[in-house]
Symmetry: D3
Subunit: 232 residues, 6 copies
């Protein structure tokens, strides 16, 4: 599906290639901040998406939904497209905070094997979702429900919280936010994340022992060159 | 008191009829999302009102307060009007996030029998309020205190977070937000909530078993008619 | 350092006088709301700064940082200036929510004796920071990292979340927000906070017993004079 | 229609009493700030509603609309209810900035005699509306259009930008914002506005001549009593 | 360039295909609202982008820029890539309102043949830009300038104000906002816009003559079916 | 007056030194963006302060006001402190958008010789202020008036829109925003602005002739070193 299909309404793509499951598992071992760095500081969704309960983490493949404001019809359509290991990612045609998703849809998505939801809108039944430990990142918690009147799409490219997500991409989410890793780049990003993590572990030990980042990273010369002056 | 009294300052209504206590208890059995749907998707306060500690829930009858920005004088006046089972609902004459309410007022309100506070402004002493398990929904947590210089009103109709609240109305609040049920409609809404909850319970079981909402709700024909196309 | 130095870039002040440690400990016994009142309702940072984990509290002396948007170079420079008992306070030259601080810097700051961080920007590794119980108040949690390309300053006066902070000032932070107490006023503010707390304790007991603030504070006459009418 | 009808969907009230035309004309002689003061500082809609072209002013009687997010169906229904001298006032069931109104609807409304539009949503064709000199106050200008799928209501009480508006009330709008005057109070408010304007005219002359408000309003004693100190 | 290149830094694409000039001229005859509808309600940038002077309109082909927060280095790089008829479209790696563009860059862009700027950040020298009649849509006017320290990219796909823009796409902007038309769809969209405009012109005449949209669009039956009740 | 006086209430300083009038005139010849750069990118107030009518510009010496939310008492007190050539700068103890200033105060300020108002709150009578050509920068236009009940201060250091302003400092404001120049630095900043302006004029001519900033500023080598790649 071409980029020109972004925002196209009225289509459900039944069969979309997913990122390789083994690679998804590998990416799921790292945090969002690490993976974001590992793919060159790209792919982060806007930070207004927040987990609705603390410590939620999820990693899976995207089933994308394009929804209309105040209308969750397509979230029902998406349920049928969910396969085990998927995360449903909902972009909207316009800004809207209504509560499009609650414990009934969560029950359905879980029964289909979904690992979570990332939605650029509101959700409700927050307490029950937390009790179910169903992982959700949303822009609001809002009791206001929605109608089922206007179609959108499922499994077309969508923009969710300022970032393009294609169906089948890897979605990783935790307390720090949500990052998308394009399917084609997933293996390379997993490698880069692993390398970064190892390097950081060594740095962490040195910092804990009282060494300064200024010395570990060799910043002093560059700082002086940039004009930084120390005054006693 | 007529609708033309909205925002009138300088008045305290001593005796206002409250919704029936038994009906309040019935409504308190349901969630805000359910009750909002049960009364035809009306009565919800804006979702920027959030509980200041997780899992807070409260249901009671409204004592309304109209307060001035940066001034909590009327919250002291309201304490005397509180009866057991009440929830104090504070609307402001203008947007303001100052911390109008803290642990002293909470101690007083609790001693008078109040079940909670809904305030379109800020509160402080958040840690102590959580320890007291005094239920509060506010637009901010803010250490900045207030003066006591300009009068407002108690028990007049107020607009709180974008919704009209009359004294004596039923207020229900939980993790999903705050909903007001007009006193006259409370019994009918309790009935409707009960009916809705029963129906949802049955649906939940079917969804958990893997059935799709598309089939349970019979959406497929309407979707096709609305032009939704499935592509393999 | 004069007020005209606010926002000056390219300077690190190595030696700045800190508020007296004993006074810092005294102020640390009170809440932010109490200390804010005790110094005449001044010194509060804007309430959008929030703790990244519940129940965080910290009290210490300010090491100030002026940082550029999307650039955390100066946070590394600041590590070397930290002494036991300090809290790092970061103001920015412009609004920015990027994640300038994570678990590596927290490890370094803790190794140097820092008690926490107050930052008018974003932080990341929120889960790890909570596990470390490293106290942070920020305007956002954001996985997006930063570059190290443009210098700012350390230990110059900065404006952080709308309030001036000088190096060596006392910083107190809890669930209610963050307050700065100028070094020169710290002892007097500690005294005032103690006096206020004592008075409040007595009031709390009377309110818990059902007395009204209207009577305890003697408000009835002033309310009547201000025109408040009671209607039966 | 009772207050309990706020937000009720699915109803069009054909015949609603309007405020007296002569009184509307009188109120239209004053500015929004004056009328807001004249009715005791009540009735102001939130200031995020702004005129879409400078110097727009309008005064008329409210035809109210309750619309769904992203759906302007009811704005078409309202056209038939418009009588000469009306202003259409649109409240929404939830926050939404879509462009619900453009030059076609403006053409229709004008043909029916409408004097303007106040809408708690977006509008489009801003340039043409300005050329037509059709007066509009909105929360956004937004090219995004809407569907016609879900019913709302016409001529029920609505909350628009945080204020209750009943059909037939007087709406006054200018560069300073929008104020609603309840139909029953309109004549009294017109009188009060006239009195206020006269008094202000005299004050304006004295201020222009260099007299101080401190003296004209006799504030010096109250300021001293409130503790204000002058320091040379 | 593939979609996986979104946000990639460090690249300047010298030669990118532009939409056909004749098609660009055709699209430039219509308003943003019309073109947005004509391409199926897709392609609109978020409405927070506003023209910095009234009545600005522009239509051209996109030269895209990916810039870092507080850093306008890439806007200088882009100048060399501008060809007559282009509009420079700037997306950022993170939210930032700094004034990245002023009258010097405008002078340079104009000398290269640019028709305008669309920037998801701030601009300055607003008065001079208006006098030059250089068309700019931005999220802020802000005197704060930027550094030139960190590279981004030119002519890679960028997300600007929530919408994907590819180099060479058609950009149309006016008082109603900014819409992007993918290069491949430009001719079809021009046709659809022309058809829509013609139809609207006929509708406009009927509405001006007092006919109702309810009748012209044949809405009455659907409204009744949806449950709308008229009450006398 | 020391920095520790920021936010102190209850004080009016009668005699404060003003920046030299000749220097003020010199600074008034330049734009805000130029002066902000000329003093090392410091002193800019947050960009949410906007002129209430287009093309407003003002330069003068600050009379500072600390006001309470919803209370304009101190703006009346300030009138007496105004001397010809002053600009009144109002900071608040908390965020508030009420309309604290209107045409009566403008009449009074003008009669005293004031050149304008910079206020971190709302103003009203916007149309009349524009007709009077009284220059105002504010965070909102809002018809809601204020009480006169709680004292603040005049001519103490205030924080206005995120920047410290001392009485007597130079204030420069135009379409690009508001910048403060500390009194002690005013002459040096005027010199630097003049030098910058001259340099920019030469650059402007070269850019207009089609030269690229890349060449004028010699950026190509640094870009290559930073890793920027050109792809054909």
């Amino acid at each position: 599906m071409a980029m020109t299909e972004i925002g196209k309404v009225g289509v459900v793509m039944r069969n979309v290639p997913r990122a390789d499951a083994a690679v998804v598992e590998r990416i799921g071992c790292y945090g969002v901040a690490t993976v974001h760095e590992a793919q060159g500081r790209t792919g982060l969704l806007k930070p207004y998406l927040r987990p609705i309960w603390p410590r939620a983490t999820a990693c899976g493949t995207a089933v994308t939904v394009l929804a209309q404001p105040g209308d969750n019809w397509m979230l029902h359509v998406a349920a049928e497209m969910v396969r085990p290991g998927d995360i449903v990612v909902v972009g909207l045609t316009t800004d809207n905070d209504d509560g499009m998703f609650g414990d009934l849809l969560a029950t359905s998505y879980r029964a289909r094997g979904a690992r979570g939801l990332v939605i650029d809108a509101g959700v409700r039944d927050a307490k029950t979702l937390a009790e179910m430990q169903f992982a959700v990142w949303s822009r609001a918690v809002n009791a206001r429900g929605t109608v089922k009147a206007t179609v959108g799409s499922v499994n077309v490219p969508v923009i969710c919280a300022g970032m393009l997500v294609n169906p089948g991409d890897v979605i990783l989410a935790d307390d720090d936010g949500v990052v998308v890793v394009p399917r084609e780049r997933a293996a390379a990003v997993a490698d880069a994340a692993e390398a970064r993590e190892k390097k950081e572990e060594a740095t962490r030990r040195r910092l804990a022992a009282g060494e300064l980042g200024l010395d570990i990273y060799g910043m002093r010369e560059a700082l002086a060159k940039a004009g930084l002056k120390y005054v006693d």
